[in-house]
């Protein structure tokens, strides 16, 4: 079928709106057809991504079909266009205009006149439409109904019931899009109001979207409360730094300070939504813990503030001629990661660089180098998939917008979802996922199916081999979805021991020669470098002398990581004081997202560019500082700015030669007679980018240890009891939750309050001892 035929194949209907003929696909609503003509019909409940409701009645228009007029004006947001329809909006029909004016008067009867204290004031659809479609004077003389102002429906979302116009956008969003029907319309008539279930707060990961789509100020966010007016704000387009979903965001700033973030409109990715973490976790940027000036450890063993030339000289003196490893971290932009990658190869002459600051494996390294760079799966593939297989991946916790896309299809057409999770999470329940023991048990995959592999696959030997095998045997589309925003970009930038930028394998001499000529250097290191854990071991046993660390929390890697860094020369590029800066010899402060430009590669490998919001930021992006450091070392990397780096990456391009090789690993059956711990992270937890936002932390899920009913009976515990889970390193104590899970497994969140698995137990999965407290 040619594209022209494809267009013709769509059934269209024609109608006349305000005397102008319009042809639209069948099923298009009148309000949407009018939009195409540039006719704005006032509305509150209508939202293009939600099912029609006809709740507010503000969009009344006069409709006539084949010469027969409807006796009364009709809601244009619920009526599809039909052939031969003649629609008259408020612009041409006095009846429609009067009807709209009347509805507006009704809506305003109970709406308080508290616009001066309302956060929505100045960007309020009700305010605007009261001006365009309402009366200038109120005729209402009675008492308005009043409610207690505002009530917390979660620690982050406030509800002001007086202001609500009962459009049901929030309740429809929660049910249709997020699958969290925690809010509903209670009561009837004038007393109708949005409410939560008794003692069950609105703890959805997507609750912030209801604040964004509320057409009045009924739902407001606690952290933006009374902070600003729309005319104070400067909006910039930005990309979310919290996960690899790749959301488009709008950041609103007042006097260089981020006051709020909203979901941007990218129909290919997040549509108009985002998650609460992306919306509200930005206080770390203005935190008091930020490193403001360079610091050098003096002879007294303490860190002292230093000038930039001093600090750069101290860092260069410690790195020059030494055997150095580079830990690049997963939160870097593509450009910054490229800076680290080039710095390691050119200025340090080593391939000892790894961006994986989390549990990892050699199988994963080979998989990343050989496979991931060429994966082309997108959100559109999820939209038309006949089945989605989730391997070591919890979309709601680890990539929330991917979850929304899968959930949309599950709700729309009951798309089958298969997960290899050991326990059905809330997300799995919402997706109605079938749980299987391993990838091999997923059946019925076709070329239309999509396999989504998470970063936790590295923790199970053979899991990535099995995923690859499944994709190859079925022809299904494969995607690797890391948790952090920077990992795919760091991979593309070659911040990995066996990979150079643009998928060039280190061991391929042709690829090295290609890069040498592009970079203008005589040679590049030839042996594949160490992984994160190997770098740490080498630092502790003395086979490496120094380390360059950028944005890494050692407790994300292993319990020993910090100890392994103690007796070595550490140069840390950080935004905030952390456990790394506490032991570093030189600390070089770097800019955070709104202070710099750059791009993240989302899980699809697509660049999400963002601009600088703060005009005269004191701090610079990592790549700029690395470039200065390289100059000081006498081996320049020539990356003076982010835009110069982006240009270099673009001109370098991807390698068209052979990819790195991948050797299949067999799964090892690890069996213990005691309990085996399994874990993953909650979306809202103790992550360092969520610091300083108590309202958001208040909506996080509570940490509980999940065990089966049989195991609970064996241990003699009920849901009121606490369990002590211990390993050789230490223990954690958590309340019990009895769920459907294998009898020998215990699930706990990985990094939540009271349940920090890596520092407490020393591993993320393995045999543990479990006892009643």
């Amino acid at each position: 079928m040619t594209p022209e035929q494809a267009v013709a194949a769509v059934d269209t209907v024609s109608a006349i709106i305000d005397g102008v003929e319009v042809t639209v696909p069948k099923g298009t609503l009148i309000i949407r057809a009018a939009e195409q003509l540039g006719i704005a019909i006032p509305r509150f409940c209508d939202h293009p991504l939600l099912a029609p409701a006809g709740a507010c009645r503000q969009c009344l228009v006069d409709v006539e079909i084949n010469g027969r007029a409807f006796p009364k004006p009709q809601a244009s947001c619920t009526m599809p266009v039909e052939n031969g329809m003649i629609v008259k909006t408020q612009l041409t029909s006095p009846v429609a205009a009067k009807a709209q004016e009347g509805i507006m008067e009704f809506l305003l009867i109970n709406h308080p006149l508290d616009c001066p204290v309302c956060d929505k004031g100045g960007e309020c659809p009700l305010q605007n439409q009261a001006m365009s479609a309402g009366r200038s004077e109120s005729r209402f003389e009675g008492e308005k109904r009043t409610y207690e102002k505002p009530i917390n429906i979660s620690s982050q979302v406030l509800l002001d019931r007086e202001r609500c116009v009962l459009c049901a956008r929030c309740t429809r969003f929660s049910e249709e899009i997020a699958g969290d029907p925690f809010i509903t319309l209670n009561e009837r008539g004038a007393l109708q109001q949005v409410g939560i279930y008794e003692n069950k707060p609105f703890e959805s990961y997507y609750s912030g979207n209801t604040v964004q789509i509320c057409p009045v100020g009924a739902l407001t966010g606690a952290s933006y409360r009374f902070r600003s007016r729309p005319f104070d704000l400067v909006s910039i387009n930005s990309a979310c730094e919290h996960c690899a979903s790749g959301c488009d965001l709008r950041t609103d700033m007042r006097r260089d300070k981020t006051l709020r973030r909203l979901g941007g409109d990218d129909s290919a990715v997040n549509q108009e939504w985002n998650c609460d973490k992306g919306r509200w976790a930005f206080k770390y940027i203005t935190s008091r813990e930020r490193v403001k000036s360079p610091m050098v450890r003096g002879a007294d063993g303490e860190l002292h503030e230093a000038s930039w030339p001093e600090a750069i000289a101290a860092a260069a003196a410690g790195l020059k001629g030494k055997r150095v490893g580079v830990l690049a971290g997963g939160r870097l932009t593509h450009e910054d990661a490229y800076g680290y990658s080039k710095f390691a190869r050119v200025a340090l002459g080593t391939n000892d660089i790894d961006f994986r600051s989390r549990p990892h494996s050699d199988e994963e390294r080979d998989f990343l180098a050989a496979v991931v760079g060429d994966l082309t799966t997108t959100y559109a593939d999820i939209d038309k998939a006949d089945q989605v297989v989730l391997l070591s991946f919890e979309p709601e916790e680890e990539s929330p917008i991917v979850f929304l896309r899968i959930y949309r299809q599950v709700r729309k057409r009951a798309m089958p979802v298969v997960s290899d999770a050991p326990i059905a999470s809330r997300g799995s329940h919402k997706l109605n996922a079938k749980l299987v023991a391993s990838a091999a048990q997923a059946t019925g995959l076709t070329a239309q199916s999509v396999i989504l592999v998470g970063e936790r696959a590295a923790e199970v030997e053979g899991a990535l081999s099995a995923a690859l095998e499944l994709a190859k045997s079925s022809g299904a589309k494969l995607a690797w979805i890391p948790r952090r925003a920077g990992e795919r970009g760091a991979l593309a930038a070659g911040a990995l021991g066996n990979l150079l930028p643009g998928n060039r394998p280190v061991v391929d001499s042709a690829a090295r020669v290609d890069l040498q000529s592009a970079w203008g250097v005589p040679s590049l290191p030839t042996t594949p470098g160490r992984s994160t854990s190997e770098i740490l071991t080498a630092l502790s046993d003395g086979s490496l002398d120094a380390v360059l660390v950028g944005g890494v929390d050692p407790m994300d890697i292993s319990a020993q990581a910090l100890e392994q860094l103690l007796n070595t020369f550490v140069v840390s590029l950080e935004i905030s004081h952390s456990s790394i800066t506490a032991i570093a010899d030189v600390v070089l402060p770097v800019a955070a997202v709104v202070e710099k430009s750059g791009s993240y590669l989302d899980w699809r490998g697509t660049a999400r560019r963002f601009d600088k919001g703060v005009e005269d930021a004191d701090l610079r992006s990592d790549v700029r500082i690395l470039s200065i450091l390289a100059d000081e070392l006498g081996a320049p990397i020539n990356l003076p700015t982010v835009s110069a780096t982006a240009r270099e990456i673009e001109s370098l391009g991807a390698w068209d030669g052979a990819r790195a090789s991948f050797t299949k690993r067999e799964a090892k059956a690890a069996k213990s007679d005691e309990f085996t711990l399994v874990s993953w992270r909650f979306l809202l937890d103790l992550g360092s980018l969520q610091q300083g936002e108590a309202n958001l932390a208040g909506t996080a899920k509570q940490a509980r240890a999940h065990i089966s009913a049989a195991a609970a009976a064996k241990l003699g515990v009920s849901e009121e009891d606490h369990l002590i889970i211990s390993s050789e390193r230490g223990s954690i104590e958590l309340p019990v939750s009895i769920r459907e899970i294998a009898d020998d497994l215990i699930w706990v969140p990985r990094n939540s309050p009271g349940s920090q698995v890596i520092p407490s137990l020393g591993f993320t999965s393995g045999a543990v001892k479990v006892a009643k407290r």
């Binding site: 001066p116 204290v117 004031g121 100045g122 102002k149 505002p150 409360r225 009374f226 902070r227 600003s228 007016r229 005319f231 104070d232």
Partner: protein, 186 residues
């Protein structure tokens, strides 16, 4: 000759105004020793008013800043809490600055204010030799505490709501609250 006579008479005519003025009442004011009152509605320095019990009328809504054609006003709102209440209702102005280097004394801010918190005094002596001192903070603009007023933060009058305040039903602080302060604030 006739020309000279004409010229003399013209000079006399010209000096007549000067001469006659010598016998008129003097208009000169010996400012700053002598200060004359301004017109009643003279647009002078702003003032942030209080309710009769001392709570601030400003709700930090920023409508004054919005109305200001010279962008001279900067406001940040904040939440009143039960422990720290500065104004009746939910919201108060935490930061309130007027930049008198920019202000053109047009009075649009006064018209915009929904609670009559912002009015203008007749004070016109606003010159200074330091630019920074001409950015007036909230404490420079707040009206002095009169008899019966208590400096915020303090709770609302017992058993009242913000509506009682808006309707002017609060006529002083409650006896149960701290003893009234008479000391004048700057």
């Amino acid at each position: 000759m006739a020309d000279e006579a004409k010229s003399f008479s013209q000079q006399l005519q010209g000096f007549w105004v000067t001469f006659a003025t010598m016998f008129k009442k003097v208009n000169t004011v010996q400012y700053p020793e002598v200060k004359e009152p301004t017109a009643e509605r003279f647009h002078g320095r702003h003032q942030l008013n209080r309710y009769e019990d001392g709570l601030e009328k400003c709700i930090g809504c920023e409508l004054c800043a919005w109305a200001c054609p010279a962008d001279a006003i900067y406001v940040e709102g904040a939440d009143n809490t039960e422990e720290e209440r500065f104004s009746p209702g939910e919201r108060f102005g935490q930061v309130y600055q007027i930049n008198y280097l920019r202000c053109i004394f047009c009075g649009l801010c006064i018209e915009a204010c929904p609670t009559r918190a912002l009015t203008m005094t007749n004070e016109y002596e606003l010159a200074d030799n330091d630019r920074a001192k001409l950015i007036f903070e909230k404490e420079d603009l707040l009206a002095p505490l009169r008899q019966g007023m208590i400096a915020p933060p303090h709770p609302m009058y017992p058993d009242s709501s913000h509506l009682n305040y808006y309707k002017g039903e609060i006529t002083g602080s409650h006896p149960s609250q701290a003893p009234s302060q008479t000391q004048e604030q700057k």
